[in-house]
């Protein structure tokens, strides 16, 4: 019982982080078919920005999060307009090579600026300590992560399901040519969606800095996890990656908790099996 609640709790917090980081990638791939392996770079940059603001300049937690969101969204929109946009419709290999190039460059730059070691994470005092749930207590910060994750997801889903922007985005994902022919500016739409997705990744990287350590190897170390969330969830879907993140979060936590001598081995095996069964993901369209 003790083990089960621990796995559920920590798995849920982990899943939230994975989802917030990866959901933007799902939209990028669903909308433009762009294989953006460098998505993790945006999460890493967000983490560096917020950790540095808090540790070095004493900026409050909430303001640091907001700054990292805006800063990374701006950087990503510049990159998208100048570089990514040239490769829409290019071959898969070219997109892969280009984004690997970005990963290598970003890793070297942050290594130069911040050094090779993982960044120390200082939690705000209001969010440290334990939270008593009656039957047992859990770390306060992880509880906050779960709550913040749910709030973000609710905002995102309302934004996509209930606003005009969301309706256009869904239309473009479903059928880009049709959306263009009824006058939707898909280029602008895509730039905005790209910036939003990168900003969310930055938030995920900042919030999850004590789960996924912020260091120069970040973008390659966790690449498989981000890609798996998207591949298993299905491209261009919002709900699919959420289910996939939950599966991955619970599965990975359970494996590391119950059979530490095998680590993530079974999670990878299960994910490969799942993709064999549904090659386009759980919620993807064939």
């Amino acid at each position: 019982m003790e083990a089960l609640t621990s796995i559920l709790f920590h798995g849920l917090a982990y899943a939230m982080i994975l989802y917030v980081i990866s959901v933007g990638l799902s939209v990028t791939m669903g909308l433009m078919g762009f294989v953006n392996l460098a998505h993790g770079v945006f999460a890493m940059l967000g983490g560096y920005v917020s950790v540095t603001l808090m540790n070095r300049y004493g900026v409050p937690f909430a303001l640091a999060l907001l700054t990292s969101f805006i800063a990374v969204a701006l950087v990503s929109i510049v990159l998208e307009r100048t570089l990514y946009a040239r490769l829409y419709g290019a071959s898969e290999l070219e997109q892969v090579l280009f984004t690997i190039g970005l990963i290598f460059m970003a890793g070297a730059l942050v290594r130069y600026a911040w050094g090779p070691l993982p960044q120390p994470v200082t939690l705000p005092t209001a969010l440290s300590g334990q939270l008593d749930f009656g039957f047992r207590s859990f770390p306060m910060y992880r509880s906050f992560l779960i709550a913040a994750g749910f709030v973000l997801i609710a905002l995102l889903w309302i934004g996509v399901e209930r606003t005009n922007f969301g309706a256009q985005l869904r239309a473009a994902v479903d059928n880009r040519r049709m959306a263009e022919s009824i006058g939707i500016d898909t280029r602008l739409l895509f730039s905005l969606a790209f910036a939003l997705g990168s900003g969310l990744a930055a938030l995920g990287g900042s919030l999850g800095a004590d789960i996924l350590a912020i260091y120069p190897g970040y973008a390659t170390e966790y690449l498989v996890y981000f890609l798996m969330v998207v591949a298993i969830g299905g491209l261009g879907s919002l709900r699919g990656p959420f289910v996939a993140a939950l599966l991955l979060g619970f599965g990975d936590t359970a494996c590391k908790y119950l059979i530490p001598e095998l680590g993530s081995f079974f999670v990878f095996l299960a994910m490969i099996g799942l993709l064999l069964w549904r090659p386009t993901g759980l919620f993807g369209r064939a």
């Binding site: 570089l83 890609l227 064999l276 090659p279």
Partner: protein, 345 residues
């Protein structure tokens, strides 16, 4: 007699008649297989390098090994068009298999190569059965996942692989019981060179065979190859297994010449680097591996001395520039310059 035949019969007879073979087409088809003088250049250079740079033979063997690794990737990526980011899986399996064989069972090097190749081919075949059912992004993801799976296995099974400390005690016996690996790396270099030469002969024969041509067909238009009855998936699985075996040989060579196997042989960095080397040299032309791997390794050796922290930055920048401006790699540029020079009278 001929006038007795109805008109349609003579028409059919006309069509049945073989057209006279176009001599120039046949000639070019035959010539493509023939060995050109230029193709001997890499071998002359490698032999010259043995005498000129006798202080750098350790680096030299590393380069030869990476050439073999890139060559194996070219079969899959360049000829069959399978975009993979998990080729280090087979390199790593070959290295670990050969290393463990040498440390635990027998230090004889040639059988060690066979062990590495067989283990990698087995992994290639089984993972290919799974991976090649998918396409595009899912396939790319699965190649990454298989490598991550193997890396985790090698990390956790430390009782046999040495885990994070690496595999110790790899002791290699003399080749044919006669040529002992020396501390200057002379025997190691020549050993790698001989193995690379044999693998190159094999790969060259393979890509010029009807099998190799059908791979190019699959790369260019998979639907049409299905339509003309080519067993597409079996072809892909075959070349994936062959490529895995060659990558396994490269890994085994690394294990034998450095007498050590670390977890990095299975890392993402190595998978990414080998794709970069191949693309830098030129994809799908067999010699891109030679050009790309040697330039990359020499540049890494030189630049890493000056500013090791920035090596990844320059490589990343190089990739971005390559994708944006020079998609054929170095050999593609050479082709372009040559065709420009030819056009001018």
């Amino acid at each position: 007699m001929a006038s007795d035949r109805p008109v349609w019969a003579s028409l059919i007879a006309l069509f049945k008649q073989r057209a006279p073979a176009d001599v120039s087409v046949v000639e070019t088809l035959v010539r493509r297989h023939r060995l050109r003088a230029v193709e001997l250049l890499p071998w002359i250079l490698t032999v010259v390098a043995y005498y000129l740079f006798s202080d750098y033979l350790a680096l030299g063997s590393q380069i030869l090994i990476m050439i073999l690794f890139a060559l194996s990737l070219d079969l899959v990526l360049g000829y069959a068009g399978i975009v993979t980011l998990g080729h280090s899986a087979f390199f790593g399996v070959g290295a670990y298999a050969a290393g463990i064989y040498a440390a635990r069972i027998c230090g004889e090097p040639l059988s060690g190569l066979m062990v590495g190749a067989t283990a990698a081919a087995l992994v290639g075949w089984t993972s290919g059965l799974v991976i090649l059912r998918t396409q595009g992004f899912t396939l790319l993801m699965l190649t990454l996942a298989v490598t991550a799976l193997l890396a985790e296995a090698a990390n956790k099974a430390s009782f046999i692989t040495g885990g994070a400390d690496g595999l110790q005690g790899v002791d290699i016996a003399p080749i044919f019981g006669w040529f002992r690996f020396d501390m200057f790396g002379r025997v190691g270099y020549l050993y790698c060179l001989a193995v690379l030469f044999l693998c190159w002969l094999f790969a060259r024969r393979l890509v010029h065979s009807p099998f190799g041509r059908s791979l190019i067909g699959i790369r260019e238009n998979t639907a049409r190859m299905h339509a003309i009855g080519s067993p597409v998936r079996r072809r892909l699985l075959t070349v994936y297994t062959i490529s895995a075996a060659l990558a396994g040989v490269a890994g085994a060579l690394l294990a034998q010449t450095t007498q050590f196997v670390g977890l990095t042989v299975l890392g993402f960095q190595r998978s990414g680097e080998i794709v970069i080397m191949l693309v830098f040299g030129g994809v799908g032309r067999l010699y891109g591996a030679f050009v790309g791997a040697s330039l990359y390794m020499i540049a890494q050796d030189q630049i890493a001395k000056l500013e090791p922290e920035f090596w990844n930055f320059w490589i990343g920048l190089l990739l971005v520039v390559l994708v944006m401006f020079a998609r054929g790699g170095v050999l593609g540029l050479v082709d372009r310059v040559l065709s420009l020079a030819r056009r001018k009278p």
